[in-house]
Point group: C2
Chain length 497, copies 2
Amino acid sequence: MKREFYKDLENKYKEVSLLYEIMGILHWDRSTVMPESSVVGRTDQLTNLYVLSHKMLKDKKIYNCIKQSEKIKKLNIWEKKNLKLIKKEFIINNSLDKKLLEKISLATSKCEMQWRISKENNDFKSIIPYLEEVIKLRKIEAKIKSKVLKCSLYDALLNDHEDGLSSKKIDKIFDQLILFLPKFLEEVLDFQKKNKKIIPIKDKIEIQKQEKLGRLLMQKIGFDFSYGRLDVSMHPFCGGAYKDSRITTRYNEKNFIESLMGVLHETGHALYNLGLPEKWKYQPVGDALGTVVHESQSLFMEMQICRSFEFLKFASPFMRKVFNKKGKQWEANNLYNIYTLVKPSFIRVDADEVTYPLHVIIRYKIEKDLIEGNIKVKEIPNVWNMYMNDFLNIKPKNNKEGCLQDIHWFDGTFGYFPTYTLGAIYASQLFSKIKKELPNLNIQIANGKFNHLINWLRSNVHSKGSLSNSEDLVKKVTGEELNIEYFKKHLINRYLN
Amino acid sequence: MKREFYKDLENKYKEVSLLYEIMGILHWDRSTVMPESSVVGRTDQLTNLYVLSHKMLKDKKIYNCIKQSEKIKKLNIWEKKNLKLIKKEFIINNSLDKKLLEKISLATSKCEMQWRISKENNDFKSIIPYLEEVIKLRKIEAKIKSKVLKCSLYDALLNDHEDGLSSKKIDKIFDQLILFLPKFLEEVLDFQKKNKKIIPIKDKIEIQKQEKLGRLLMQKIGFDFSYGRLDVSMHPFCGGAYKDSRITTRYNEKNFIESLMGVLHETGHALYNLGLPEKWKYQPVGDALGTVVHESQSLFMEMQICRSFEFLKFASPFMRKVFNKKGKQWEANNLYNIYTLVKPSFIRVDADEVTYPLHVIIRYKIEKDLIEGNIKVKEIPNVWNMYMNDFLNIKPKNNKEGCLQDIHWFDGTFGYFPTYTLGAIYASQLFSKIKKELPNLNIQIANGKFNHLINWLRSNVHSKGSLSNSEDLVKKVTGEELNIEYFKKHLINRYLN
């Protein structure tokens, strides 16, 4: 009898989960194909689903199902974890009230709109009151959540993106990076100067051809276009719904280099989504782990696999064929040098693998201090430029290439930035393990054989859904805790050899 | 105080209405851009929204709001009508149970899938059990609705598409058509033989160019692409959401003729949707009237306007320019002869304006008899072929070009067919009125000036939403009841002159 309560809970959650799926499609639509003026209606639609799912999750019937399910002894580990995750969502939703959520939604969308103008005009002053309002409201939310989760304000927001993540854990890792990276960067720049010869590729490449190459390589790696799409949007992302994984990129005729890696990065995300356990679809236990593991999958694909010499050896003939090009600059060696060029620069999304974590650390430090109340919004530009100078030894000319560059804070997102770098570290640790289990992996990649690799990721990561948290996952898969040494080793191997 | 109940009712309905809006986008997505294998998840999403909206409409709180609102004396006419429409939806939803709806959803989707195979194989026998199941379930639904609506079984299904429509009203009109059309058709064929000289256009036209022309003419007529799209799907339709009107077409390189008119037909639908009263968005009173008026708007645009000599005079230079063509066959005269060619044929969607109603009448007679239990599924082919012979004097070689051609019955739709022809009649009556109010309309059309026409439609039809029913609307706008004489006159003018 009691078991029915659990089944009922699953069914009730499925109803909410399907609303999330639909939101995924509506978000994709908004960013890719929606007529521009239809944004008013789309906001109504999304707000409606958001409020509705919040209401459904708060329902007393769910609470009753949770209570009754907790008494069942015969739940298997998936069901137990599922119950735990639903309970957490229930408790958090119950602590938040609809009006606060609506206020946040309004303030963030106002702030984001103003940000586009302020960034365009390189005018930080104009954004200050908007960002202050966003931070004020998100702090109220954080305070409520921090009580439920028994953690600090900032950690409560981290929890939106990664279950159980704390700034204590992040600090431990980032401190090691701060000790290592700036000095390492100098060595790499020095090494590069002596050893790296690049024939630059200045060819204009038609967008159609870039797209063709992207699709081709996605397919070669294992992306199934009967379950997904590749499109264009202002900011690349991976979205859609379960078994309907839609990635986007943006093209630049004068620079195909970054757009291609963007596609392969998002392919990593998409393969994760498509590999989630079908048996647990529409349940939180069947969902992807937080953004740390998600970024680990995209960075794994982009950084570990696709920027490797072996991959570029495999890909270069396709580039030459699709782009109809020849010459030494299109050979794997030169492509590899291009794709592993290190150069401190202002814009995070254009940063190389070595300097990227430093961009992230700067943002992490600032956003934590903003939420914990240690710095004020108006102080951001100075703090930003100080860190840029300290870590990267460069100073932004203006805020447009400084603290106004990213959308995150202005659309209300806090606690996301550190997951990029944690993901990169996970990726290198996973890769080190895979190489032991698949000793011929490098040869396989050079020959365009990705099936063993993808199968390994599927069975060790993707198919596990949210059964373990990310810490346990890395322990189960690699036999040890998250260890930054793998990341360092990877960087040393790639950039000082 | 009581007024708040009405406002509350509006808010509650808005929540449901936004789910309909979302379904519109998800349907569009499924037919145009969705990866093929993602259909499983999409079915889950749509079923979820369907069941959810049904549940929300049945809610007791809605009933209370309706009861309280009915006591308010100060509702304006829009509010009164809105209350009435919500009440009707509430009553119908309350009479239906979720399990029946789910059964119907399952049976129709099974039947539709089988239909694709049966049609492909020209095998009527294989579809019989599926269609029998669909009809059985829809009859159960019709029986429930017929009690609520106090009408016959078939009329209950008609009501899905047009509030207050009855087979008695349809019979009256269709009987007149049956008396008129077959004889008229003979005359037209005879007249054509003597008077119509056509230089056939056999040029292959690239799809890209056809699309370019379609977009151009849509814009010229008044379609605003910042609130809509034009895409490709297997079956042309107009969908999307309010202020996000998305039409589709299909292209044939060997025959641009029909695809262009398809685009203009759907543009008529889209202009109606985009012209609905913004003040009443997300309320039933602000919604489009049933399919009769919807078809009247599309057929108005396609038949009355775009197949006219004046329109083709305006459009032919654009055709020549976009297609890069010249010669006599591209002159307005010849295009007009092509676009008004009458020829009895088997396929409804390819039929001309004169024979189209006969195709509709055949389907109307058969579906009414199926629902009222006067004929059996297995008898359909014989009855179909008999009618085709009687009305059009041709006999289908097989069921693929006979009773298996349309999707409607096999996806569970009954009561839709007659609205096509009622729409055509409305369109001709409206057009006759417009010509009186805008005496220079023909000159305007020939010069590509559509703003007066569109404004007339906006203020007389589109902006009225569902304030009146379609019968009252035609009376208000034209000063008389629906009168088939306008349609006959239009046909005589166009095809015997």
